[in-house]
Symmetry: C2
Subunit: 217 residues, 2 copies
């Protein structure tokens, strides 16, 4: 069980704070807006109304014991940056910050924070992927342009053996797992016949996976 | 190669539009702000300065030929909703919309759009996961509380055989892929010895995976 402090409870900060509580961790929420704190005071471990540009207010909250402090102030770049400087002066070691612009990102990098998050940009990329490859329900990057992807078997591909499905990309793509209803079938054999509604997990290089993905429409 | 229209070129809309172009698709970008359009006019297939609450302006753009139209207007919920109504009246079949609030989401659901995106909330959830489970670099949901996760082998686990690693969760978690430098090793044997910096892909139920993930710190 860890301790986190979330500073700035907009949509990103609020969702983050509530999710960490749901995962069983202690979360302190800090915001200068009374109404925001009133809405969340029963859902977080502890809440405080404070303007974090004031380093005395911040020190009183003693965030030095936290596994991470997340600064999720959006619009007010100045407040976000001043807050980060105060946290660094207090010796906080793990600071994650939501950045609004590239300029914000550059200044944060220079100040030295542990992670910079761009929610809008990251979701823009993920949404493009979901639009362009609707048959790929989820995916994970492995590095070196290699990926693991999850595809759903549609009626058209039902009855195909795995080896036949992978014929055109056979040294580049591997079928490493099939999920059928609630059962997981790891490392299915080459003759394994896929059925409609199976979930197939494939691994390989991007180009071969994209070529194969087109068959799953 | 597909055609898309992105209405509203804030950070989310811009990233989405540019990513679709990078993937080889045609993208029309529409925004009422001249400066935004000037910045993007060389990077998108076609751009137009238009106030999309005006349905005549929208009709002139003839977005009926698009694989999807994405409405990425943020702050101005009214403009977002009016635009969606115009698109539906024009017979556009695939409409994705970025929602700013729960109220916005409810109204969009009632109007009937194909996907509603909440960038800040989705990234809040993903960030909580990254904070609470730093050893899990990426993951994919399979449904039924089953997941595929990617973990990095640290010095402490180097030299361990896969079977020994999975001993405590052996009927619930499977090692389905190892990536070693640039090589993919699908379905490694039980005696396979993992080395530092290997990437191991595991599949199983959430509870067992979380229990195992703690060993990868
Ligand atoms: N100096 C400050 N001290 C404490 N809280 C602050 C300060 N400045 C802003 N905040 C709070 O940060 C929260 C998030 O900021 P804001 O709403 O500007 O960002 P946002 O990017 O629109 O948020 P989101 O996109 O996550 O909804 C607000 O609830 C605001 O009250
Ligand atoms: N009626 C309209 N017609 C066309 N474009 C519009 C209209 N209203 C707003 N826009 C444009 O939509 C874009 C995105 O809107 P806005 O910046 O309010 O959202 P945002 O949520 O802050 O964006 P993001 O978070 O993606 O950066 C802006 O560039 C704005 O000019």
């Amino acid at each position: 069980m860890a301790q986190y402090a979330v500073i700035g409870l907009g949509r990103f900060g609020t969702t983050l704070a509530l999710q960490l509580v749901k995962m069983g961790h202690d979360v302190v929420g800090i915001d200068s807006d009374r109404r925001v704190i009133e809405m969340l005071s029963d859902s977080l471990t502890y809440t405080a109304i404070a303007d974090v540009t004031d380093d005395h207010a911040l020190r009183e909250l003693n965030p030095i014991d936290y596994d991470a402090v997340i600064v999720a102030i959006g619009e007010n770049m100045q407040a976000s940056l001043i807050c980060v400087v105060h946290l660094k002066n207090m010796g906080i070691e793990n600071i994650w910050v939501k950045a609004t612009t590239q300029a914000h990102h550059l200044i944060l990098s220079r100040l030295g924070v542990n992670r910079i998050i761009h929610p809008e940009e990251e979701m823009g990329t993920r949404t493009a992927q979901a639009l362009a490859y609707p048959m790929i329900r989820e995916y994970m990057a492995l590095g070196n342009r290699q990926y693991v992807v999850e595809v759903k078997v549609t009626a058209g591909l039902a009855g195909t053996a795995l080896a036949e499905l992978l014929e055109s990309v056979k040294d580049d793509v591997f079928g490493i797992l099939v999920k059928r209803r609630e059962q997981l079938i790891p490392c299915p054999a080459a003759q394994f016949v896929i059925e409609a509604n199976d979930t197939v997990v494939l691994a390989g290089n991007r180009t071969s996976l994209m070529k194969l993905a087109a068959r799953f429409v």
